[in-house]
Amino acid sequence: MAKGVWIVAEQREGTLRKVSFEIATTARRLADELGEEVSAVLLGSNIAGIAPELGKYGVDRIYCADDPVFETYTTDAYAAAVATVVKENDPAILLMAASVQGKDLSSRLAGKLKTGMATDCVEVRIADGGLAAKRPMYAGKCYGEVVVSGSPQMASLRPNVFPAAENPGAGEVVKFDPALKAEALKTKIVEVQKDASGKVDLTEAEIIVSGGRGMKGSENYPIIEELADVLGATVGASRASVDAGWRPQSDQVGQTGKVVSPNLYIACGISGAIQHLAGMSSSKYIVAINKDPDAPIFAKADYGIVDDLFKVVPEVTAAAKKLLS
């Protein structure tokens, strides 16, 4: 009988990512309901030291493979390793992050394990002893209630949506060696080009300040960047400002850009087209600054200011600076 709730934890350069604590906390909640244990799989190179941190978020056992082959993520190595340890231990439920890495890994694993998975979930619970999940579909225009079967039942969780709460588990670290065969590793990472900005990625940001066509040109972005700096936020963009060449593709929020769920999303000079809303409507708070009172973004906004953004945004920066300094 499959037993236990498992997660695949995610680390980058030897630091556990926040989303790992979110999935650990969620796994703990489900495991408590089932009266079972939580285990995590952690892969990386020189990462044995961080494994116990997962114990603080309710993980009882951490299966850790520490090997140079896991230095940078590759689908081949990670999927083979996780599949091996999962098959040996037969968990009932397997939760992962719907991060860039998690999406790639979880889908390949679902294929390897020949099982069902719900991706990018915003709610998970136990129903009839099995895993049920709620997830946005049609770019958030509706939500699907998914019942997952198979073994393990898999779900990937949207980052920033589930709370992370400390709640100690046994935290026992178990080393394992997946004994990967070199010939099975077909893909190679030839280069990692790091963003120079060093800013938190949009998908992980707690606060986002986004600019749209109303920004009128790339030369005006400093006013948004200043507000972002004061708030510790990451800068985003609508497709109009990306297509105009004012911002890089990686800044685009929306259906053909990134799906974000920060605590606070400040939309400046963005009309709120349905494809833009698709990427940000699960933000906890939305602020709209737009001179057109009929802009659709106001229908989604918790707070709105109808005015010229060039007048308002610098004042918001000044007021926030005063408050936060």
Binding site: Y73, T75, A79, V100, K103, D104, S107, R108, A110, G111, K112, K114, T115, G116, M117, T119, A132, R135, P136, M137, Y138, G140, K141, C142, Y143, G144, E145, V146, V147, S149, G150, K186, T187, I189, V190, V192, Q193, D195, G198, E204, Q249, Q252, G257, L264, S281, Y285, I286, F298, A299, K300, D302, Y303, I305, D307, D308, K311, V312, V316, A318, A319
Partner: protein, 256 residues
């Protein structure tokens, strides 16, 4: 080269999506059906790869009779032939089942590179490409914004959080397309005329020899949660409104 592009027909991104009163699905009346946005990038890249290396492009689509329009669109863009998997058993199929059906069809033909979209904008699942690659036992490069195919190998760029990875893989492999990869061409009028005569094989589940066993079942659908009505901060002076916004974010929302 033998190039394959998987295409799905989905509601247009502007479409208003209404859930049926019983939650069993969406109302299809009035929906305009189009090729999945990301599959357009996949088809374009398939065509560019063929233009550079020769060979032909086969498009594969699972869907009801109307999905033929999407296959014809890809043929009009320049693909050579199509496979249409049409079987009511696959309606509402999960990613695993969908990938199994695609794999069964693709296994019967030669392939060097397969393109999928990084996700379908209807179910937003983003799994089919990876599962298909697994079932065919070939490497995958997912969410790719730049691709080079040369000397039996591919090099792709994949943006991740805070960086871009340059990934190399031998052929055959599967690539899932992300925005930025290319600018999809439009079908030309002569292209549309020619597409009508291009061959499309129609297959069902029995012909593919697969069994349908849905393991991630959409049991019901609901409209999105209502957001409580927002507050417009009134006034004439931008500085006063800005200060009020900051106060609300601190004292009411408690997020800064």
């Amino acid at each position: 080269m033998n190039i394959i592009a998987c295409v799905k027909q989905v509601p247009d991104s502007e479409a208003l999506i209404k859930v049926k009163p019983d939650g069993s699905g969406i109302e299809e009346a009035g929906i305009k059906w189009v090729m999945n946005t990301y599959d357009e990038f996949g088809v374009e890249e398939a065509l560019k790869t063929r233009e550079k290396h020769g060979g032909d492009v086969t498009v594969v689509s699972i869907g009801p009779a109307r999905a033929m329009e999407t296959i014809r669109t890809a043929l009009a863009m320049g693909a050579e032939k199509g496979i249409h998997i049409d079987d009511p058993q696959l309606e509402g199929a999960d990613a695993y089942t969908t990938a199994s059906a695609l794999a069964a069809a693709i296994k019967e033909i030669p392939y060097d590179i397969i393109f999928c979209g990084q996700r379908a904008i209807d179910n937003d699942s983003g799994q089919v490409g990876s599962i298909l690659a697994e079932l065919l036992d070939i490497p995958q490069l997912t969410i790719i914004t730049k691709l080079d195919v040369e000397d039996g190998k591919v090099t792709g760029i994949k943006p991740i959080e805070g960086a871009q990875l340059v990934i190399e893989s031998p052929l055959p492999c599967l690539v899932t397309a992300q925005k930025g990869l290319n600018e999809p061409r439009y079908a030309s009028l002569p292209g549309i005329m020619k597409a009508k005569k291009k061959p499309v094989d129609i297959k069902d589940v029995a012909a593919l020899g697969i069994t349908v066993d849905i393991k991630a079942k959409v049991a019901g659908m609901t409209p999105p949660p209502e957001r409580p009505p927002g507050k417009i901060i009134e006034g004439d002076d931008p500085a006063v409104k800005a200060a009020e916004l900051v106060r609300l974010l601190r004292e009411e929302a408690k997020i800064i």
